[in-house]
């Protein structure tokens, strides 16, 4: 609870700071603030779960540790902002504040105890993203991205809302606890399950799973790079976490049809994501598709919900950190080029060995090469799914990991074998720091999964 309040407060402080011309202070303050909140949050780990506002908010390790991950990711994003927005400094407070609100939404999404809270969280997250996506009013593609995201997003919200309404109708409550008990009590009208499915679809949209993924590539490409980073890391992870919590909360046992749907969707997402990514020449777009495939991977956790909580978190963390590192490099390379075509990365290995190394590592992590946490994430996932007896989907996943190597290495090749076209310019300090720290965290997670697995 305190976390949520603190974050919201921090956001407001940023806005106020702007009023008092403390623009310089905004970013440092918010970063320090975030770290403080992170510390607070971590100290609260392993405390007993507590509820607030008659179950509007339920805090437990699940919510806390995911909040911690969100905060870390946001910290990175905030750290990247000043450099990224250096051209219009006046807006910095808005950007930071919106990110913080977005974080608040994300936290709300994982610590809800009531569908209303969940709905609010998801809407806060989405609306902030609409704004960020369209945050370059002069840039048509930014407008387009914003528009597409907005239209489809609100459509999805409608679907979610309809689902919620049906659930409410079936159970007479928005409170997850109560719903759960009612459901396990039995004799519920048939439309309850429809409600669940509609909710699922809405969330599948948010995590950009096939066939609800079409918005993702366009929006990722059109939005400002930093926003893309936000979407592909924070937003996706948050949606996934909320999704998982919701399903665990509402289904007292996962029905077979539901499992089949999940399997199909996840298989489709993996294939579409990876195959489409092969042919992309725009890095942001490529990462969008790879994100789709990762969504497919993450969906596999639903195949044995009781045991996969830790796995989901680990995967999310690995993916998020790798994503941040990758985007930090992308920003540093394409920051002032106006596009993110792959050829911008030619010869990076010579001009900026460090950046190249970081990007390589994060790509290897996404591809699932050992010692990077991405490998362990996939590995844990496969383990759990195999235990659940779903061999087929594991094989599909393996095949997809092979395909994915194809496009990840396209980038690596560009960096190391092609020659740079233009002269090298210095990498902004913020970018390199974020990149390095993120990838180090990623590797640390790889070498010591216990760091996080212990809590779940």
């Amino acid at each position: 609870m305190t976390t949520l309040i603190a974050i919201a407060g921090l956001g407001i402080i940023c806005l106020i700071a702007e009023i008092f011309n403390l623009r310089k202070a905004i970013v440092p303050v918010s970063i320090i603030g975030l770290l403080a909140i992170l510390g607070l949050n971590i100290t609260e780990l392993n405390l007993v779960g507590s509820t607030y506002y008659n179950n509007m908010i339920v805090e437990n390790n699940y919510s806390r540790i995911f909040s911690a991950l969100f905060i870390v990711l946001t910290t990175f994003l905030v750290a990247l902002s000043p450099e990224f927005h250096k051209n219009h400094k006046t807006k910095i407070s808005d950007f930071v504040a919106i990110k913080l609100f977005l974080l608040a939404g994300a936290v709300a999404m994982v610590s809800f105890g009531n569908l209303a809270m969940f709905f609010l969280g998801i809407e806060i997250l989405s609306i902030s993203l609409y704004i960020l996506a369209a945050s370059e009013p002069k840039n048509v593609s930014s407008n387009e991205a914003g528009m597409k995201y907005f239209l489809m997003g609100s459509f999805a919200s409608g679907v979610i809302l309809f689902g919620i309404a049906l659930i409410y109708g079936a159970t007479g409550s928005f409170d997850v606890e109560t719903i759960y008990n009612t459901v396990s009590g039995g004799n519920i009208p048939g439309w309850f399950f429809i409600g669940i499915v509609l909710l699922t679809i809405g969330l599948l949209f948010k995590i950009a799973a096939v066939p609800f993924h079409f918005w993702a590539p366009d929006v990722y490409e059109g939005s400002p790079a930093l926003t893309t980073a936000t979407m592909s890391t924070l937003a996706k992870v948050a949606a996934m976490a909320a999704f998982f919590k919701l399903m665990k909360g509402l289904n007292h046992e996962v029905p077979g049809t539901y499992v089949t749907i999940i399997i199909i969707v996840s298989a489709l997402s993996m294939f579409v994501g990876n195959l489409m990514a092969l042919k992309q020449s725009n890095v942001k777009r490529m990462l969008a598709f790879s994100g789709i495939s990762h969504a497919g991977f993450m969906l596999m956790v639903f195949l044995s919900p009781p045991t996969t909580t830790g796995v989901l978190f680990y995967y999310a963390a690995a993916y998020g950190l790798a994503g941040i590192a990758a985007f930090a490099v992308v920003l540093s390379v394409c920051g002032n080029k106006g596009n993110e075509e792959i050829y911008n990365f030619n010869g990076l290995g010579k001009t900026h060995p460090l950046m190249a190394a970081v990007l390589t590592c994060s790509l290897l992590s996404m591809a699932g090469i050992p010692i990077f946490s991405g490998f362990f994430a996939k590995f844990f996932l496969f383990g759990e799914v195999l235990r659940a007896g779903q061999v087929a989907i594991v094989i599909i996943a393996v095949v997809n990991s092979i395909i994915s190597v194809g496009y990840y290495f396209k980038l690596i090749l560009a960096m190391y074998t092609k020659d740079s076209t233009e002269e090298k310019q210095a990498v902004p300090f913020a970018y390199s720091v974020v990149a390095v720290v993120a990838i180090l965290l990623n590797i640390a997670l790889g070498l010591y999964p216990d760091l996080v697995l212990g809590y779940l």
């Binding site: 590995f379 496969f382 383990g383 090749l413 999964p449």
Partner: protein, 480 residues
């Protein structure tokens, strides 16, 4: 004092090499690799005197992954091969202007580290991690320092990477499955498992894909020739000298003991496949116009024979395979080095552009000749010892295997002597060919020395590995 120190030395070596800068890199690398070799020798000495040099500490609680390094005769022999070849390979790159030297040697050391780790790991996942890790340095070495036309090279190297990576992923699935059964990745826990036929079959199959691609066994070999040709010679040496031995070692260490039933059931098809590789590789070697490609295919043939020996599941087969692995490691490195030396002088590996070199270089000729003879397993060279045992094991399984596999001594002589004739003999070549320098000769002498010594006195290695192999055979025969 335990095996961990070898790995630490190598890892530090890799880092030190990188930070030593382009000037010093090669020397630092040499130093550390030699140090590692010394340590390996010492530890092997300890081990053979019954000192426990293994190392096991818990690493990751969930899932239960142990930092477990087992150091028995087998793994130590392989590590000895690795750390012995490492300095030789590094020495072989001297006198050759290396751009980005520090990265180059750093990567080599990193790869050596990874390979040594693969040989030592007693924990499945640790093993897998090292296995994959060893792939990354060679990928970059081949990619950045490789020769040939850039696009084609890129294509081949990426193909190689994806191909091997694909294979090993199936192995990973097998490991994960085993883990679900045991709750541990430790080798000896796997051995205690009682898997039913189907499980064993699929696990064997998953392992087989991984190893068949790495070794390579036909028809999974298509990456090999191109990569061997295009990679820088040092990389080729690492690949052919050590890396493919990882796969054969893994068959002995992991595949056979964990899933012995399919190994017994499909013994004949497996051996047949391997031997087909022998003949196929030899005949293809006859048609190569590129020296390095020819050596690649000859290596394909030899390795096929080794694999065949392993799959006979006889002590002779395994022992012969191990001896042959070591021998082949040295020979192939030597041969590729010879190719490299010619390439340095003539800037080509096209056989057609060579010939008439012997007139100008008596020393190089004799060294090259000895290596050629060793590779066709002339008695009193190390290769003969291994090849004899392997062929003998094949004969025990089925005499025709021995006959077909034995064609390697005919075809091998055929293509090797043909190559030697076209490359070295004939009227004096118009292009000048400076005889080997002291440094170059030194490398050759080292290799030849090893080959001849163990050719006449293989006892040390035999006694070192035999107990392990006998245990493995025992396990295979006693299991269900």
């Amino acid at each position: 004092m335990d095996v961990l120190i070898i790995l630490i030395t190598l890892l530090i070596g890799a880092a030190a090499t990188y930070f030593a800068g382009d000037k010093l890199a090669s020397k630092v690398a040499t130093f550390f690799s030699l140090a590692a070799f010394g340590l390996t020798l010492y530890i092997s000495y300890l081990q053979s005197n019954g000192v426990e040099v293994g190392f096991t500490r818990p690493w990751i609680r969930v899932p239960n992954i142990q930092l477990s390094f087992l150091a028995d005769g087998l793994s130590l022999t392989m590590v000895l091969l690795t750390t012995a070849l490492a300095p030789i390979i590094i020495l072989s790159t001297f006198k050759k202007v290396q751009n980005k030297a520090k990265s180059f040697y750093g990567l080599i050391m990193l790869m050596v580290f990874a390979m040594a780790g693969t040989f030592l790991s007693g924990d499945g996942l640790l093993y897998y991690i090292f296995w994959e890790l060893s792939l990354i340095p060679i990928y970059f070495i081949a990619l950045i320092w490789g020769g040939g036309e850039a696009e084609a090279r890129k294509k081949d190297v990426v193909k190689f990477f994806i191909y091997t990576f694909a294979g090993s992923l199936f192995m990973l699935v097998a490991f994960v499955y085993l883990y679900q059964k045991t709750g541990s990745f430790l080798n000896y826990h796997f051995l205690r498992l009682h898997l039913n036929g189907t499980e064993q079959f699929w696990i064997f199959f998953a392992f087989f894909i991984a190893y068949a691609i790495k070794i390579p066994i036909i028809p999974f070999h298509t990456w090999q020739a191109n990569v061997y040709q295009k990679a820088p010679t040092a990389g080729t040496m690492l690949l052919s000298g050590i890396m493919l031995k990882m796969a054969i070692y893994s068959i002995i260490r992991w595949q056979l003991p964990i899933a012995p039933a399919p190994a017994k059931e499909y013994m004949y098809p497996l051996i047949a496949l391997c031997i087909a590789g022998v003949i196929y590789g030899s005949i293809l070697a006859l048609k190569q116009q590129d020296l390095k490609k020819l050596l690649a295919y000859s290596s394909l043939a030899h390795v096929g024979l080794i694999a065949a020996g392993v799959y006979t599941l006889t002590i002779d087969g395994l022992r012969g395979a191990v001896l042959q692995m070591v021998a082949h490691g040295f020979v192939v490195v030597g041969l590729f080095y010879a190719a490299e030396i010619i390439q340095r002088r003539y800037n080509t590996t096209e056989i057609s552009e060579m010939g008439g070199i012997r007139v100008q270089t008596p020393r190089f000729t004799s060294m090259f000749m000895i290596l050629v003879l060793a590779s066709v397993a002339l008695p009193s060279t190390f290769n003969f010892v291994g090849e004899f045992e392997v062929l003998y094991s094949l004969a025990q399984t089925n005499i025709w295997f021995a006959v077909l596999g034995g064609t390697t001594i005919i075809l091998g002589a055929f293509y090797m002597l043909r190559m030697f004739q076209q490359v070295m003999l004939g009227e004096q070549n118009t292009k000048v060919f400076a005889d080997v320098t002291f440094g170059e000769g030194f490398v050759f002498v080292l290799i030849i020395g090893v080959l001849l010594f163990f050719g006449l006195y293989p006892k040390p290695i035999v006694n070192f590995v035999s107990p392990v192999l006998e245990n493995i055979i025992l396990h295979i025969n006693t299991s269900n």
